[in-house]
Amino acid sequence: MKLKEVDRTAMQAWSPAQQHPIYLATGTSAQQLDATFSTSASLEIFELDLADPSLDMKSCATFSSSHRYHKLLWGPHSMASAERVSGVLLAGGENGSVILYDPAKIIAGDKEVILAQKDKHTGPVRALDVNMFQTNLVASGANESEIYIWDLNNFATPMTPGAKTQPLEDVSCLAWNRQVQHILASASPSGRATVWDLRKNEPIIKVSDHNNRMHCSGLAWHPDVATQMVLASEDDRLPVIQMWDLRFASSPLRVLESHTRGVLAIAWSMADSELLLSCGKDAKILCSNPNTGEVLYELPTNTQWCFDIQWCPRNPSVLSAASFDGRISVYSIMGGSMDGLRQKQADQLSSSFGNLDPFGTGQPLPPLQLPQQAAPQSMVLPLKKPPKWIRRPVGASFSFGGKLVTFENPKAQQPGLEQQQCHLVYVSQVVTEKEFLARSNQLQEAVQSEGFVSYCQEKVDMAQTDFEKNVWAFLKVNFEEDSRGKYLELLGYRKDELKKKISSTLKKNLLADGDLGEAPAGSDEAVLNDGDKGLATEEQLLGEGLKDHKKETEDLGPAKKTFNISVSGDVDGLLSQALLTGDFEGAVELCLYDNRMADAIILAIAGGRDLLARTQRKYFAQMQSKITRLITAVVMKNWKEIVQSCDLQNWREALAAVLTYARPDEFAALCDLLGSRLESEGDSLLQTQACLCYICAGNVEKLVACWTKAQDGNSPLALQDLIEKVVILRRAVQLTQAVDPNAVGALLAEKMSQYANLLAAQGSIAAALTFLPANTNQPNIVLLRDRLCRAQEELPGAQQPLKAATERQPVPKGRAGPGAGQLQGTQPPAQQYYQQVRIAPTVTTWSNKTPTALPSHPSAGCPSDTQGDNPPPAGFIVPAALSPAVPAQQAPASGYSLYSQAGARPAYPQRPQNGWNDPPALNRAAKKKVPDNFQPPVPITSPIMNPLADAQCPLQQPAAPAPLLGTPGFQPPQLLPGPPGQGGFSPAAQPPGPCILPPAASKPSTEGAPGAPIGNAIQHVQALPTEKITKKPIPEEHLVLKTTFEALIQRCLLSASDPQTKRKLDDANKRLEFLYDKLREQTLSPAILSGLHSMVKSIEGRNYQEGLNIHTHIVSTSNFSETSAFMPVLKVVLTQANKLGV
């Protein structure tokens, strides 16, 4: 594609590769006359401005010269040293002159632009070349075999490469070798080429064709191969380009015969040695691969011959050609449309006319048909082979999960050998945050192993700051017994130490009192103090003395002695009178009036509750000491007051007070309140302390907010700091408070997803998944989850079941619910089903098993789902009101097939507990992915469904009891997500067979989905007959647990009136089966077992409150995953029993 053109009949030279911007120098040609027959000469410099879409070249400078030129050459001499910023422009003149110009000066418009001039040659200087290795060396050639080597640093006297060749002839071309710096080649029109070795100062080889008809117009060395060069012939009888290898100099290596008439000029691309330009008298400009002879490209030109052609050294796809019609054209070898240019012209035109749509649509002026558009040349094909410079030799791309994909092309030693090289693609994991990852791993380990206490302790030990230490200590307390007491200790209040302090203080006082002769009061004082310890404690720790007590005791002390009752008119007297008349109120008033506070209180106690309260209020109204408000709060139980109005510097004390006194139900709120105050009012130091309050309160969301405000949360480690705390606190909260473990607030969700993002970026895909909030609809989190799942090479929905399957398959864990372990080996999925729905062909090993040989007990799972994605098909009636006592019944085969079509699904194992922030039970995502149109190979006895957790479970007996248990290579079918309700099931395909009623079929199953969280109304209940067979008995010593719990539930059921409660209890009854399983498998820890037994004892004693306390204790001290499946159920039962009073 033509880029630019200049109407000059001129020699041309591109600026060197180092020069930016790109210039093209033109000098009036000595050989051709332009149309004006002008004899004036000029040297011009144009800039190649590709940003300008017009065809005009931007003229930078014109210098009127006294010379006309045979050759122009722009060398980079002195550019590196910045002595000549634009290098040196060399010109070969008519009368043996070699002229040096400073192009920078020409561009600047200087008058003195000639650096040097020597007229040492004979005749016109037609050949010039700069040595690539020593850019100060220039070779020049003229008539009579004259070759000079000029040193631009010392231009005065040139050297010669050796003795002149004989016979004397013109030197038409010169070229320095491109690999070996002391080798120079020269060629003459006679067809002979000579290679000179400048170290030897003599010609080393002469290349000559036998037919002697070569008329050398061009000479070029191979850019890569030192011994190869090409010679072009101008002779129309031999319009060839010969490729020679000096090692076989007897005949040309290759002859390119693409031109039909003599070749006028050649240029070999420095950027790609497979591109050789040639122009000839056939008016063609060809680009050939001299290594193969193939013509790769023919430039679209006019009919004029070109006498000079040059690659642009800097822009490898640009070349310029000078033609005899007095024009220098700049082309791109990359093809492209001429239409673009015409389009542009049309655009310019149309924009001048204010016409529509000059941009972008591609068809700005639809009515206008450009005349040239019909011409076939309007589109120019690019080079047949992609030039080397657009092949990327190397590349690196980041992908999700911190993966870096890189490739490289080994540098080819020999051209043409590239194809044999093997190309490697590497995938690397980029990890930049090692510490972050290490800490994240620690956190996950702690979560998985539930070693929270030791984790926190470690953090405490490693903490750099006191605050950090505090925070971790607070977090740790959450997992310990007597957390409030420990909190107090952390705030600096130790009960036992305090006791010691108090008693020592009292002893001191006693001693002092003794000195004063008031020893007898001692015993009473002690008693009093014991009784009023709490108050005293507070006073002591807040640095106030025991003044009040002393006063009281002192007053009491003398009271034991004999006394006389004064009834005089002073206060004492009046008081005595009031007391004697029983007027407590008056007496109290008197005491208060006389500021005898203790007397007043003592009297008020005697005067009854109302009076006491009033007196207290008055007392507090009068007293103004610092401690009063604390006492007020303690007595009035008004902790809100303290929290709301205490000096924030005393937050520690306020928190301590709340920890000591607040009721469980108000405790969290009070802590929150204090935290909020600290956060909103305090200085930055106090703001951070608010975190401690939130930790006490268990308020994860606020902790996140506060932390984010206080800390710089941008760096990964800062985020890690936060997440560690949040995760631990959430676990603590889950243990102690009955909250939905999935509840995640917006801010926390954002932080968690940030964290997950970071983990993912470091390559911890699995970890990222576990930290990602599970129950959010935030699009970015959903996206991230999806992406993470993909990164795990699993489809998003199938991910959980797959994980469960792969992790659980090898060893069925004892913890598994209804026969999850056994199931895996015995599920006989029908082969055809999977072929219909599967997406990835991954499951193959089991498919050739004969279905009938397999034991058949696909579970008839409950199809009801609030999501509504598995609606029962028409004709299928959900027996929602069926009572659980209805025995399993043998259903007609047709009924079964309907059912199985609707919702029968293979039981799938429970998800492992490592997804710590996920519900322990089967979640909906997992459900959805279970194949719904599962076809049972063998009929099943009783298709009883279980719509809302209280329906019956189908019980089936395998036709052949588990002969293929543990079929090797079996993979659970839930690997394959199938859209629910997908067709493909055919009732007719169901193999007929007798329905076998299991022995236990008359009894409703009590199995429930393992560990389903309470509050989730949908229980996916599955019952499997195989499990019945393989179940072990409950150890005798623990049988009492089962009987007691069952009896309790029965009692509750009898006295419960509303159906909702009944349903709850029914559900509980079923779900306790999980506990019994654990008992059977003997996997419960002794601590839990003993706890359960004491719970049973309290149930036997009808003391359900105590039972609940024990329950709380068990939950707070045991492993969450161990108890999560049944402890909530027990709580429900106990609460109900307590409520119903059974």
Binding site: A51, T361, R392, G402, T406, Y426, V430
Partner: protein, 264 residues
């Protein structure tokens, strides 16, 4: 394809398994996987020269593919449904060739960080391109037309690659560009209008820099150069870019292990 394939690009998975490829044969082909086999769903032959780069727009915009070609034009192919593609062509986007295109992340004007949910956000679509005219250009869609919004000049030779950094929620736009001249520039623009871009030289390499790629979190830049070396760069807190690693022959990387090797 009938020539070397220069680049492939995955569409967002929400559209299915879709891959776009561009080749020296002047074609852009969109491939789609249907039931396990890959099929050509669309072939675009509107370029007159090698198509060097393809890049899918952020998924929020729909299926839009930008293609940069050696013919200097950039084509924007938008899927309009029913197997139809709409073509918009920017002619002469980069004289003698466009080497790379890269979309800006989807950002809503006025609310660079948070966007109100509910109504469909009014995105401003932008992408960057780099070409043989040594320029990086930023293009913006206005009233359905693509207009040159900015011309970023700093390179003194072909711009080989541009990479618009993923959005990390900050109101800053960042573009990395690399060039034949061995320089890698980081362009950043802090103002929402997108008009004031300032370059920062990451490094001047001794060889051509072919490729730049941002990590997903936009904090690491992988730079691949003609010396067959891949280096990773990270911006420090004080805004200086530092090389954190050489990834040499895939075995390097920051504690990186070659996980897999395969023949190209």
């Amino acid at each position: 394809h009938e020539g070397p394939v220069w680049q492939v690009a995955w569409a967002h998975p929400m559209y299915g398994n879709i891959l776009a490829s561009c080749s020296y044969d002047r074609k852009v082909i969109v491939w789609k996987e249907e039931s396990g086999t890959w099929e050509k769903t669309y072939e675009y032959t509107g370029h007159d020269s090698s198509v060097n780069s393809v890049c899918w727009a952020p998924h929020d915009y729909g299926l839009i593919l930008a293609c940069g070609s050696s013919d200097g034009a950039i084509s924007l192919l938008s899927y309009t449904g029913d197997g139809q593609w709409e073509v918009k062509k920017i002619s002469n986007a980069h004289t003698i060739g466009c080497n790379a295109v890269s979309w800006a992340p989807a950002v809503v004007p006025g609310s660079l960080i948070e966007q109100p949910s509910g109504q469909k956000p009014n995105y401003i679509k932008r992408f960057a391109s780099g070409g043989c005219d040594n320029l990086v250009k930023i293009w913006k869609e206005e009233d359905g037309q693509w207009k040159e919004e900015q011309k970023l000049e700093a390179h003194s030779d072909w711009v080989r690659d541009v990479a618009w950094a993923p959005s990390i929620g900050l109101p800053t736009s960042t573009i990395a560009s690399c060039s034949q001249d061995g320089r890698v520039f980081i362009w950043s623009c802090d103002d929402a209008s997108g008009n004031s871009w300032s370059p920062k030289l990451l490094h001047k390499f001794n060889d051509v820099v072919w490729h730049v790629s941002w990590s997903i979190t936009a904090n690491i830049l992988a730079v691949s150069g003609g010396d067959n070396k891949v280096t990773l760069w990270k911006e420090s807190v004080d805004g200086l870019w530092a090389c954190i690693s050489d990834v040499n022959k895939g075995q390097g990387g920051v504690s990186a292990a070659a996980e897999g090797q395969q023949r190209q």
